[in-house]
Symmetry: C2
Subunit: 433 residues, 2 copies
């Protein structure tokens, strides 16, 4: 079949549905250098404006998946993964992996590096001395089967279309297209071999989705697409108006994850992780009911089994598991500088995105894809919406190695906390599931 690229672009531009072979002609043709960048970007912008039908999204996801290798696991083991749409301070993957593995699940986690205001799980793991995340599909599969879980980076041969199209979307203003987001997320989550998937769909000032209505739309697309490939998908809608946990920054978040696995109950982190784990255990068929799942979760945390799995993963991925007992081995910032509240009042809003940008300024995140990170940079920010602060009280602190960067970051962070004289309520963390 030979098509005219312009006619396909015009068809989508006019709001018509594209056939599987038209989509293949364009997207497969794109990574084979048959379709030039400028035609693909025009098509992506047309998709942004006109959307895609359910079957188009499934077909596109299938084209994405079939552009590379596919990982499969034996049918008789319980494979389950979690995907998060990204938030500030989100270290849940790092905590959930060992918990699920300790419960008997197999969790094939393929994760990413940070770009934009949210950090990347791989960047956080990179702060563990020696740890590698660049394994082949074959090695990855073996790691998962041996240890119950592994967290690695996307290889060149897994969903290669996504890497190319994502890079083009990033520079052409077409990231925020729900059908394209769906194909991008689901292709990777299906190709990595997990037959069950829980999605932490984050909503709020720190997420790219700002309201529940838009989130539900995306949630439906993700569920439908997963189902069309025989994957169980469950969406948990969570609040991302305050950063997650108390620490933001790469090695600081590893430290907080270790504390969590050691039994520290950081309220928001604990509540969301618990909800995700319980759902994962149920859809993977490991726990027969909510009550059983709760028991499972509590057991592996209280017994230290989850922390043990974390150590095993670090060792298997060539890192130094001693960091779990001796946090001094993680990169540490030379300075911890307190940030004071500039006014008194209740926190009514936190601009998490702005906090993300402040951290980029400290070197904890990237502006450009090749930026070097300062793994020890970050912030301690224990306060949430609804907390009361006195002027001059400690809002948090900044961790850094370069004092010249402190003032700007501290100012940005202080500005990100919006105070009011009216008492404000704490917010629900789990919005819908």
């Amino acid at each position: 079949m030979s098509y005219s690229p312009v006619e396909i672009i015009i068809k989508k531009r006019n709001g018509e549905q594209l056939s599987e072979s038209e989509l293949k002609f364009m997207f497969q043709g794109y990574i084979e250098n048959q379709i030039p960048d400028y035609q693909m970007s025009a098509l992506l912008m047309a998709i942004y404006h006109k959307g895609m039908k359910k079957s188009e999204i499934s077909n596109l996801t299938s084209i994405y998946i079939n552009s590379g290798r596919i990982i499969t696991f034996p049918e008789d083991i319980a494979t389950v993964d979690k995907h998060s749409t990204g938030g500030v301070g989100d270290k849940i993957s790092i905590i959930l992996g060992p918990i699920m593995a300790a419960c008997g699940a197999y969790v094939p986690m393929i994760s990413g590096r940070g770009l934009g205001h949210t950090g990347g799980t791989l960047d956080k793991l990179d702060s563990i001395p020696g740890l590698r995340t660049d394994f082949s599909e074959k090695e990855f599969r073996k790691l998962v089967l041996n240890n119950g879980y592994a967290i690695v980076s996307q290889t060149e041969s897994l969903v290669p279309i996504d890497k190319h199209i994502y890079a083009l979307r990033d520079v052409t203003g077409t990231i925020e297209s729900l059908p394209l987001i769906t194909a991008s997320i689901m292709s990777k989550k299906i190709a990595e071999g997990a037959r069950n998937l829980v999605i932490d769909l984050k909503i709020g000032s720190g997420a790219f989705i700002r309201n529940l209505e838009a989130a539900r739309k995306l949630g439906k697309l993700l569920t439908n697409t997963g189902n069309s490939f025989g994957q169980n998908v469950k969406i948990i809608y969570t609040n991302m108006n305050s950063p997650l946990g108390e620490y933001v920054g790469n090695s600081l978040e590893i430290l907080e994850s270790i504390h969590f696995l050691q039994g520290k109950k950081i309220p928001d982190l604990y509540q969301i992780t618990r909800r995700l784990a319980i759902t994962m255990l149920q859809i993977a068929g490991i726990s027969s009911s909510e009550t059983v799942a709760v028991e499972h979760f509590d057991n592996v945390l209280n017994s230290g089994a989850a922390l043990e799995r974390f150590k095993l993963m670090i060792q298997a991925q060539e890192g130094d598991p001693a960091v779990c007992d001796n946090p001094q081995l993680l990169p540490r910032a030379r300075y911890e500088i307190p940030i004071e509240a500039t006014d008194s009042g209740w926190i009514e809003a936190i601009d998490s995105q702005n906090i993300g940008y402040a951290l980029i300024g400290l070197g904890a995140g990237r502006r450009k894809i090749n930026d070097q990170l300062d793994y020890s940079a970050g912030a301690y920010l224990p306060h949430k919406i609804g907390d009361h602060l006195e002027r001059g009280a400690r809002l948090g602190s900044i961790f850094c190695n370069n004092l010249h960067l402190v003032d700007e970051a501290a100012g940005k962070i202080a500005d990100s906390f919006h105070l009011t004289k009216q008492p404000t309520k704490h917010q629900e963390l789990i919005l819908e599931y």
Copy 2:
């Protein structure tokens, strides 16, 4: 000023207005190779979907104009031009130029070659032995001042942005954007120096605009934009449901134009040309009223003054003016093959676009930009909507040099005439002015 191209694309994608300097950063940057094709095509598709405000279109037109040279004429001469949005069999520019010049106007016509189903004025002129259309701006200006008019091709230095953006629009499905059409048309018509402009906005099966409502929208954009540069603009909305005149094809249309200038009154061609000329004479300030303009028009046709101007133009542009007296000097097809009506009835519709494609098949038009033309190929098609045909009667004829091409073209042309058993009315040619 330095902008982020992605942020500008996203702004337009979200339906916001772009500032003059943002537009300049993108469009001027594009021809300076600062903005890559894939970002420009994403922006063009966003403009297609979200449109542009009046001031944005004026600013874009200004950026187009200032990307190259601008031609100016003395203030005290009456400069006027006509633009047609393109139709099948449209040879009106070739006829109007000498008529207007004979009336004392100065008509700086910069025209184009055909691509798609409609022929190009320059292709028609190219069929006159020796005639050139590739003059510099300086030579063009001199030709206009000496002879009252000239018809030349767009030079590299006149509105260079348009050439580049048009080529990109052509392959990215963004031709049909009214703001982009407006900037493309008006930039050239303002840069060529005509202070008065009449636009023949064609509507119907042979035009790219299919209804009066869409045409009025475009008409308003064109008028507003011209006015913002101090140009008088008048729109004449004409019917393009039947091909114009009786002949379609390059040298055949030159022959028909000569017959017109010799006094032959081909009804549709005569009516539309007359309407355009009368309006041009009035807005250029040459004729003080409709009645005076009509007299002017009739005089220069009846006296042979218009034909004389045509000969002068041909000579000035290095062609052989003897073609006017001896049509045998024009390229002539070896064969004229009659086409018969396959049924009896009244013509209720003519698919002019399909006729255009049939002519491309004969070599009279281009599929690709570098296709060679057969200047003598074409068709004689005297029937209009509302005419009655008997089965087996002559529908018209095909002119060609290759008998192998006849069957397909004849079939396509016959199929383009839709007959009905119900008497059908002849259609109004001038829809609104």
